[in-house]
């Protein structure tokens, strides 16, 4: 089971640009490595990431095998209203993981 760490400020002033950092545990197997018998290890990566703010999409990312294990992604969001930020990761072999954080905008 994956573990995700999210860093979102608890409070912000309306209109501020806030920084968000996300980290999720995942091997991100590239599909190019081989085991000691020479067999290629099948690809198993996170391919997509979405961040929504009160239901509206803020940003979206497409990951390729060149993203390191335990993908880290930091970006910014305009603090518009109090509410929920939802982060969703999707990947190979039906991987999905959702995490959310609440923010109070004054």
């Amino acid at each position: 089971m994956a573990v995700a760490r999210i860093d979102v400020p608890k409070t912000a002033r309306r209109g501020d640009v806030i920084d968000i950092r996300t980290l999720i545990s995942h091997t991100m197997e590239t599909g190019y490595r081989r085991d000691y018998l020479g067999k290629t290890l099948p690809r198993d990566i996170i391919t997509g990431f979405t961040c929504t703010y009160n239901g509206a999409e803020v940003c979206r990312a497409v990951f390729h095998p060149a993203i390191s294990a335990n993908p880290y992604l930091a970006f910014s969001v305009v603090a518009a209203d109090s509410g929920t930020l939802q982060f969703t990761w999707t990947g190979d072999n039906g991987f999905t993981f959702t995490e959310s954080a609440t923010i109070t905008v004054a």
Partner: protein
């Protein structure tokens, strides 16, 4: 037969480790001899990195300008498995003028694509920070796609000491 008194060196974990290491190496050599397919053979079988073609497909007939994009990646990295990378694009990020997407490519990884990041005015700032794998000493290219259809880019060469992606377990 006289029973040998256990000598300290036999029980010494260091000497055991040495023996294990020898066995492991010998086994490894036997496996390597049995399997002629090496990392280079693997690389030869893979299609070559076609970064210019992939960028051309993304950009189409538009011109890729230099500037407005700031690519932050260390010029020399020891470990290609975990290379910090930041991309910041100069933009007011308003409804009328904003960055639509940031794409990162490399020219010597097995695949040229690294990340595609789609943003909009809600992000406030067009910046992203992540960690990437680099398979070789190579050029990293960041391309920003603006809402007016223009493309801006910056490229930087990175020297990698320990490569990622192609090593064996």
């Amino acid at each position: 037969m006289r029973r040998r008194k256990p000598r300290s060196s036999v029980l010494d974990p260091r000497s055991c480790n040495k023996r294990r290491r020898f066995l492991a190496t010998a086994g490894g050599l036997a496996v390597a001899a049995a399997l002629p397919s090496t990392a280079t053979a693997q690389m030869n079988r893979m299609p070559p990195n076609n970064m210019p073609e992939v960028i051309r497909r993304l950009v189409g007939t538009a011109k890729v300008n230099t500037g407005r994009v700031k690519l932050g990646v260390p010029p020399l990295v020891e470990n290609g498995h975990l290379v910090p990378l930041t991309v910041t694009v100069e933009s007011p990020m308003t409804e009328a003028d904003h960055v639509k997407a940031i794409h990162v490519f490399t020219d010597k990884n097995p695949l040229p694509e690294v990340i595609s990041f789609y943003v909009g005015p809600r992000a406030g700032r067009a910046s992203l920070s992540t960690r990437v794998r680099l398979a070789d000493t190579e050029t990293v290219v960041a391309i920003a796609q603006m809402s007016d259809g223009s493309f801006w880019s910056e490229r930087q060469n990175v020297v990698v000491t320990t490569a990622a992606c192609l090593e064996e377990l």
